[in-house]
């Protein structure tokens, strides 16, 4: 090892006997293991070998509060959870129970962070919430894979994700309908119009919509149309 910088004083963890190190790691909570795992390849490898809770992960990438929640798998009073908040999402309040995640080293962005957590904690993504007001998990996605449909998909567009899987992206309000709530003419028209506006180089019509404001039904429709455009979903095939 190269000699440590002169300002570095403290205990060298790796100079402790192996069994002692393990005893120390056994006292760590998820956050300490996580922070430790981001320090180097060696600490990441050690972190992977530490005995940990079985966890599930829920992602809220566009949420202002916490972006990742990790739960222990056991239910009831003993269930523990950790709410992670990434730096760059505003300053934490004094009363927040979020854990601040420092985006450095191996956790340079949200995707790297999720990959890192999956790797270190062997945790599976249970839900991904993209601010559509509703969570999607395997159970809810089942109707798309069999004939017993609850939701119907109308259009949207396909992308190839970084992991090579094909995903369909669309507006929750316009490209998806529930069997109890069939699509309205308004939805279809709005969907076609939005697609057209998106494809325009100068989207004057888009600005026109933003400016529209009225009270009553028309106003409500306009607000609804505006709001629904923000709600997108992704279905991974």
């Amino acid at each position: 090892m190269t000699s440590p910088p002169p300002n570095r004083t403290g205990i060298s963890l790796f100079k402790l006997p192996y069994l002692v190190q393990n005893e120390i790691y056994a006292n760590w909570d998820l956050i300490e293991i996580f922070h430790f795992s981001t320090l180097s390849k060696r600490t990441k490898s050690i972190s992977k070998s530490i005995k940990k809770h079985k966890l599930e992960m829920h992602l809220y990438p566009f949420n202002d509060g916490c972006q990742i929640m990790l739960y222990t798998r056991q239910m009831g009073r003993n269930q523990k959870y950790w709410r992670l908040r990434l730096t760059g999402y505003g300053m934490p309040n004094k009363d927040d129970d979020y854990y601040q995640v420092f985006m450095k080293n191996s956790c340079e962005n949200f995707v790297f962070l999720v990959d890192h957590l999956q790797d270190v904690f062997e945790v599976k993504i249970e839900t991904l919430q993209l601010d559509i007001g509703e969570e999607w998990n395997e159970e809810k996605m089942k109707p798309f894979a069999n004939d017993n449909r609850l939701y119907e998909l109308h259009g949207g567009f396909d992308i190839t994700r970084a992991d090579g899987r094909i995903a369909t992206i669309g507006h929750y309000g316009y490209n998806l309908s529930h069997e109890d709530n069939p699509r309205q003419q308004l939805d279809t028209e709005e969907c076609v119009r939005i697609s057209r506006v998106w494809n325009l180089e100068q989207s004057d019509e888009e600005e026109e919509i933003e400016e529209e404001d009225d009270q009553g039904y028309i106003g409500w429709i306009n607000r609804y149309k505006k709001e629904e455009r923000r709600h997108i979903f992704m279905i991974v095939l």
Partner: protein, 188 residues
Amino acid sequence: MSSTEQGTSSAAPAEPTTAPESAAAPEVPESFYYVHGKDKVVHKVSAGALQHSALIHGMISNLGYTEEQAKANPFPFENIDGDILQMVVDWCNQHKGKPTPPEDTNLPKQKEKLFDLVLAVNYLEIKELLTYCCKQVAMMVKGKSPEEIREIWMIPTDAEDEAAEKEAKKRAGKEAAGETAAAAGDAK
């Protein structure tokens, strides 16, 4: 180790730092043993207190010392600083024959001292005290940022690890070359 090697007269077995005597005298007289650290100061410790240390307990069981023999031959722990050994002896005396509490708040707060204590306790195989120490050491990084953890624990970066690996390989290569040369010299 001879008695003359035990340092100054104040550190000799005649005036050891004694364990607190039990108020209620036991029916069978308790046997005492003697240990010393790097500073050669001898500590008198009861067999009951020493039972916490699997290492010393094993040594006592195997040696079958009489009290006189034990006095003349304190167990030497040259790799343990005197003040650290004193802490260990105090802890053993304090917890002699008692169930160990779930927490121990009397451990040193100073990082270097705690580090030395962990090493000593691990060497002496005092399981309960090691558990407390490790817990205290683990808690040192509670609520700290990754960079603070790196500072506290002197965790090398990837670049430092790679440089260390290269250096170790180079050293191993040199040693191997030296051995080969020595073997060739012997053959001649």
